[in-house]
């Protein structure tokens, strides 16, 4: 019988290139490589920042210099040489006023390739979008519609200039400059990112979205996102990421801070599809990200992530449940294939009374990849009647990959109720044959099993992105089972 063998599948996978691996020839202004105080000052100057911001960066840089890269994650990679990276790169043609008509046609062509239509299509989908290429935000749509509701949605560079009082009040309050190695680095050199403020009692009428793209070679991307939902407001936010295929590793070290004030709700979804490296494990993005949200009284923060890209992922979107009755949620699908490594999970820090958290993590490993869930549930002495439910499921494909679970639980209050469930399963030949026998080919069969496995998390994504995420899962795992 001439059966589609693993070799056939592998060959097909090799020819199936990373769809977003193109490079756009934009005229860019890129700083010389290396990092020192002058570069930090130069970034700040380039962005025409006020003195307090420059000082904030310099303080962070000072702290960073004394720090060591974290070693505890279950990942192995060649440590980046931080003096070999350019810390600022911007497409030259970006107009400071940034109306879409002024945007470089090459840029517009790039969006089109990426499947982002900045105008009509997204208008119909009701999504406002901020696009960050390399170091700067190049376009933000729907500003006017949003501003009618008092919603501020702009690049963080603009926000520093236009709303310094808000930025000053909240920046670094959830992820302090000295939080960790990458967060400190980001604080010193972040070049752009998104800023969002939802006023009291306002329900944001559309999905807000940021699209990150690393284009230039040899640059790091350090974006900073700050999102504030004032009392009783609601916002749903989505970020997407891609990068060209390159043989060398690229560094991405972002910081996202969420602040949900009393009775506010933030839903933050990520579809991370940075270049994962070649089938032989060459190149790919190092994704070292710090994401954290703070919940005040009765507030709710929900993180949903679909992680399919990057060579190495180090990422733990977390919630500090400070206010009484606040709620934290983490729904994650992390897929690793070939030589990808992911160490990802969450931290739920319960401080307030009656705080609740839910963690649903789905790890899918294929090829020779390593996929780790790492999570902390911490119940402080002050957190009366706190509750947590955690579920970590791993799905393995083939015999050369690994799935690992590192759950940490610290409880200092006896009234806490904590549940933890974990399963590990493997896509079996029997499952595949069963599907084959019903006329479903192997690729489709894998997609079916994976989608079934991921369903609880996919269901949490905003509708228009759920389909996209589902397709992405299928593409990421193509050719992974023989």
């Amino acid at each position: 019988m001439s059966k589609y063998t693993e070799d056939d599948l592998k060959k097909e996978l090799e020819t199936k290139e990373y769809e977003y691996g193109f490079y756009t020839d934009l005229e860019s202004e890129t700083f010389p490589i290396g990092l020192n105080e002058d570069i930090v000052r130069a970034i700040s100057k380039k962005k025409q920042e006020p003195q307090w911001m420059t000082q904030w960066r310099l303080d962070a840089f000072k702290v960073w210099k004394s720090m060591q890269e974290p070693q505890w994650a279950n990942v192995n990679y060649k440590k980046p040489d931080f003096q070999a990276i350019a810390y600022y790169s911007a497409p030259k043609a970006v107009d400071p006023n940034k109306t879409l008509d002024d945007v470089d046609p090459e840029l517009l062509a790039m969006y089109k390739k990426l499947g982002i239509s900045v105008d009509e299509q997204k208008k119909m989908n009701n999504v406002a979008i901020d696009i960050v290429v390399d170091s700067v935000s190049v376009a933000t749509t729907f500003k006017k519609t949003l501003s009618e509701k008092g919603i501020i949605f702009m690049s963080i560079s603009e926000a520093i200039k236009e709303h310094p009082e808000l930025v000053k009040k909240y920046l670094g309050t959830v992820v302090p400059t000295k939080d960790n190695f990458y967060a400190s680095l980001n604080s010193a050199v972040f070049s752009d990112g998104s800023f969002c403020y939802i006023p009291k009692g306002v329900r944001c009428p559309m999905e807000l979205s940021t699209y990150f793209r690393i284009n230039q070679a040899g640059t790091g991307q350090f974006e900073r996102t700050l999102l504030i939902a004032d009392q009783g407001s609601y916002v749903s936010y989505l970020e997407g990421c891609t990068a060209p295929s390159r043989d060398e590793n690229q560094l991405h070290a972002a910081v996202v801070e969420l602040i949900a004030l009393d009775d506010a709700e933030i839903k933050y979804s990520t579809v991370q599809n940075w270049y994962p490296g070649s089938a032989e494990g060459k190149g790919g993005v190092y994704n070292f990200v710090t994401k954290r949200g703070l919940c005040e009284r009765n507030a709710k923060i929900s993180w949903t992530q679909v992680e399919t890209g990057s060579a190495v992922t180090w990422k733990y979107p977390s919630c500090i449940l400070k206010g009484d009755n606040s709620i934290g949620e983490f729904y994650s699908i992390a897929v690793t294939n070939n030589y990808q490594q992911a160490d990802t999970g969450t931290k739920m820090i319960h401080l307030g009374k009656n705080t609740r958290s839910t963690i649903i993590s789905k790890g899918i490993s294929a090829g020779k990849s390593q996929n780790s869930y790492r999570g902390l549930v911490k119940i402080n002495a002050s957190a009366e009647n706190a509750r947590n439910f955690s579920q970590c499921d791993s799905l393995l494909m083939g015999n050369e990959c690994g799935a690992h679970t590192f759950p940490y639980i610290e409880v200092k209050n006896k009234t806490a109720k904590i549940e933890h469930e974990a399963t590990t399963s493997k896509i079996g030949e029997d499952q595949i044959f069963y599907c084959n026998q019903r006329g479903i080919d192997t690729e489709k069969a894998i997609a079916l099993v994976v989608n079934g496995f991921s369903k609880e998390v996919l269901n949490k994504l905003p509708m228009e992105f759920a389909v996209e995420a589902q397709k992405l899962l299928e593409i990421s795992l193509e050719g992974s089972v023989g």
Binding site: N436, R438, G439, I440
Partner: protein, 249 residues
Amino acid sequence: MLQIKDVYASVEEKDILKGISLSVNAGEVHAIMGPNGAGKSTLASIIAGKEEFELTKGHITIDGEDITELDAEERAHKGVFLSFQYPVEIPGVSVTNFIKTAINENRKAKGLKDMPASEMLKKIKEKADLLEIDRKFLSRSLNVGFSGGEKKRNEIFQMAMLEPKLAILDETDSGLDIDALKVVANGVNKLKNKDNAVIVITHYQRLLDYIVPDFVHVIMDGKIVKSGTKQLAYELEEKGYDWIKEELV
């Protein structure tokens, strides 16, 4: 419809089938009986195209077309259906979603567009009613937590939906109580017509009281050693398999 010509097959280098020939025409029901390890399930797997089973000699044709080189899904597209002895679980995939995918993949192979949702729903409703399947059952994850009876009923439901030319029922009676057996057998009988054929693989004659075969074949040590009518099944029930062995000597 189905022609099996002098088929030899092995699994992990071990010879299981040693020269099987069988001819099944449209409108017929054939029963395959035999002791444990005789090669009954291997025969089912080799017709369906399970990868681990290697056909070392011989040919299998469907309507004159040689299918021995085809993948399992391609055979399914040609109308081969296997009701599994042990149906597998697929968590998170509902019975409805699974059958919808299967139907549309079969249509795609024939160059047809996806079945319109309204038509699909109508068909699902019709077939579920035929097999006395509760609507709630359709939204459950495929085979997850199903009882033995539910699993087999689900297999027959899929058969009803896919309308195969050739249905092979591999030990469909195992793990069923008499009521469940009747429901499943009833379903098969309702689906049977002059254009399709059924192969029933079973240990016991019990199922054959409900799905009445036109022919009965006895497999022993990888060969069909005796063929007959329904009468043969009764004889086996009464006397066991030993007398055939003796006859062979």
